[in-house]
């Protein structure tokens, strides 16, 4: 149980961190730069509606049944929603704040780092909160279908052995992890933005 939990946790942590960082970075780029937005938006709009588990057959062929597969699934699951929330957050920043910063002598990079991204934080955190829970739901599903280790795989084994107790414990762990991840980001958001919002 402990080893399976640890496997799932590591996969979620790596996949979610990589997906969030990539989503954040490309989201900032698309929100700030119109050209980047115009170039990337059509491709992303096309890929975004595909559910993360829909990629599973293709990823199995590309990466095989190994550790990269679940991490790639979590990456895809986290990347798009965080990207969209970041783009929305950046685009929603009142233009006058940018004008004020520019008049006060700030360069584009400084405007982005000191004004635009901090003001987009509430939107970014909405994405992080939702997707941190979603990452756990997706990893369990992926492990049930295609990966031999992790909490999802353990639940499938327990089902074949008719071990309802293990299944219930796994469900409780899943619930607690989803909630803990969401609460962690809610706490972080409160810490960073509560004073001024």
């Amino acid at each position: 149980m402990g080893r399976n939990f640890l496997s799932s946790l590591i996969r979620v942590l790596i996949g979610f961190s990589a997906g969030s960082i990539a989503g954040l970075f490309i989201g900032i780029m698309m929100g700030w730069n119109n050209l980047a937005n115009k170039a990337l938006n059509p491709i992303i709009s096309l890929i975004y509606p595909i559910p993360a588990l829909g990629w599973l057959p293709l990823l199995m062929l590309w990466f095989g049944i190994g550790e990269i597969l679940p991490i790639a699934i979590i990456f895809i699951c986290s990347f798009f929603p965080i990207l969209y929330n970041t783009v929305t957050g950046i685009k929603n920043v009142d233009k006058n704040y940018i004008f004020v910063a520019r008049i006060l002598g700030a360069s584009d990079l400084k405007i982005l780092s000191t004004v635009v991204v901090p003001l987009a934080l509430p939107n970014i955190f909405t994405g992080l909160k939702l997707e941190s829970g979603m990452a756990w739901r997706v990893i369990i599903a992926a492990e049930m279908v295609a990966i031999p280790t992790g909490i999802g795989a353990l639940m499938m084994k327990a089902e074949s052995l008719i071990r309802i107790d293990i299944i219930i414990i796994c469900l409780i762990v899943l619930g607690v992890m989803c909630l803990s991840f969401e609460k962690f980001f809610a706490f972080l958001e409160k810490k960073l933005t509560n004073r001024w919002r």
């Binding site: 006058n96 004008f99 910063a101 520019r102 008049i103 006060l104 002598g105 933005t193 001024w196």
Partner: protein, 350 residues
């Protein structure tokens, strides 16, 4: 410091605007909504592209980006950074210019004191009142020692008392700092109170530039449409009642006006600043005139009435609902109250 010159500026509604603001002058740009006032400020600040040329101290600055124009700009919404406290808001521009930390601290301290907001330094914008936000925004705009200050209807969201108080303080500060200032408003009284000169902008064209009294007493036709043609009364007799108060007689109308000058040539008041009543109003008989209603002109949402009193004819503008609440008839007797605060005077020395 710096003078500003706009030559053949065109952008959006603005067409071939030419305007000069002298060094250390406080010029008020007056105009209705959509006249192009904010567009002109954004052009001077270098925030938008435009056709034509902008000169600071007779040197063209068209190629200069906004962050190198050394401008202080107060937006209508003030736009204090909500995630910084007051001190950090004021220090922002200095940090961006990479000034040494001790210099930043000293400047912030100085501005907190000048603007009387020292006790607010660690508060966030959401914890400030409208007037306090105004002071912080002004301190932030002044922190980089700008050569030009642009203010876009900064008192719009404030109550009358606070905005009047801040206007007075700002006027004193502007004089003390000697900073060339362009102040935008759509309110004639605010413009008159603040300005050394007023430029009236309507539909993207400068319709008139002059001293506040020139604009009020001799408005061009286009300016008349905007501020309203004032009632101008020629004074036949003046009597100083006490320091600051003069009694004037204009035909049959006797008025008390606030003036330090003894000889007053003309008195003027806008039609919307005269109160009209169908019954004799209670209270002392100062600046009240009895007359006969000769004309009613309804044009929603106001009604324009002409009242004859002796040899004078006064135009009064009142809201439709107030007009409807009274029983007014042509040739009927009416009473007028001329608000002393709204009376403008031209004395012999002007």
């Amino acid at each position: 410091m710096s003078s500003i010159k706009l030559k053949d500026i065109s952008k959006y509604v603005c067409k071939n605007v030419n305007l000069e603001i002298f060094d250390k002058e406080l010029l008020v740009l007056l105009g209705p909504n959509g006249a192009g006032k904010s567009t002109l400020l954004n052009i001077i600040a270098g925030l938008i592209d435009y056709e034509g040329s902008v000169f600071f101290d007779n040197k063209p600055v068209d190629g200069l980006p906004a962050n190198q124009r050394r401008i202080g700009y107060l937006f209508q919404e003030l736009n204090l950074f909500p995630h910084f406290d007051v001190a950090a808001n004021i220090a922002y521009g200095l940090k961006m210019q990479k000034r040494p930390q001790n210099e930043i601290n000293a400047k912030v301290e100085e501005l907190l004191q000048i603007m009387k907001i020292k006790k607010l330094s660690s508060r966030y914008p959401k914890e400030l009142s409208g007037g306090e936000k105004q002071r912080v925004a002004l301190a932030r705009a002044l922190a980089n020692s700008p050569r030009i200050l642009l203010l876009d209807e900064p008192m719009n969201s404030l109550d009358y008392r606070t905005s009047k108080h801040l206007r007075t303080e700002f006027k004193i500060l502007q004089k003390k700092l000697g900073i060339t200032t362009l102040y935008v408003t759509h309110n004639f009284y605010e413009a008159e109170e603040m300005a050394q000169r007023i430029a009236v902008l309507d539909r993207g064209r400068i319709e008139q530039i002059g001293l506040p009294k020139e604009i009020f007493f001799h408005p061009t036709e286009a300016v008349n449409d905007f501020i309203g043609a004032p009632n101008i009364l020629n004074c036949d007799y003046c009597n100083r009642l006490s320091f600051g108060l003069v009694e004037v007689k204009c035909g049959d109308i006797s008025l008390v006006v606030s003036s330090e000058r003894e000889k007053i040539k003309k008195v003027a008041i806008l039609p919307e600043d005269i109160y009209l009543s169908d019954i004799r109003p209670p209270g002392p008989d100062v600046n009240r005139v009895k007359g006969r209603l000769t004309e009613i002109e309804e044009s929603s949402p106001t009604v324009c009435c002409t009242v004859i009193t002796g040899k004078n004819s006064l135009r009064v503008k009142l809201p439709q609902e107030i007009f409807a609440s009274m029983s007014l008839n042509i040739s009927g007797e009416v009473w007028l109250i001329l608000a002393p605060r709204k009376l403008k005077i031209i004395s012999d020395s002007e």
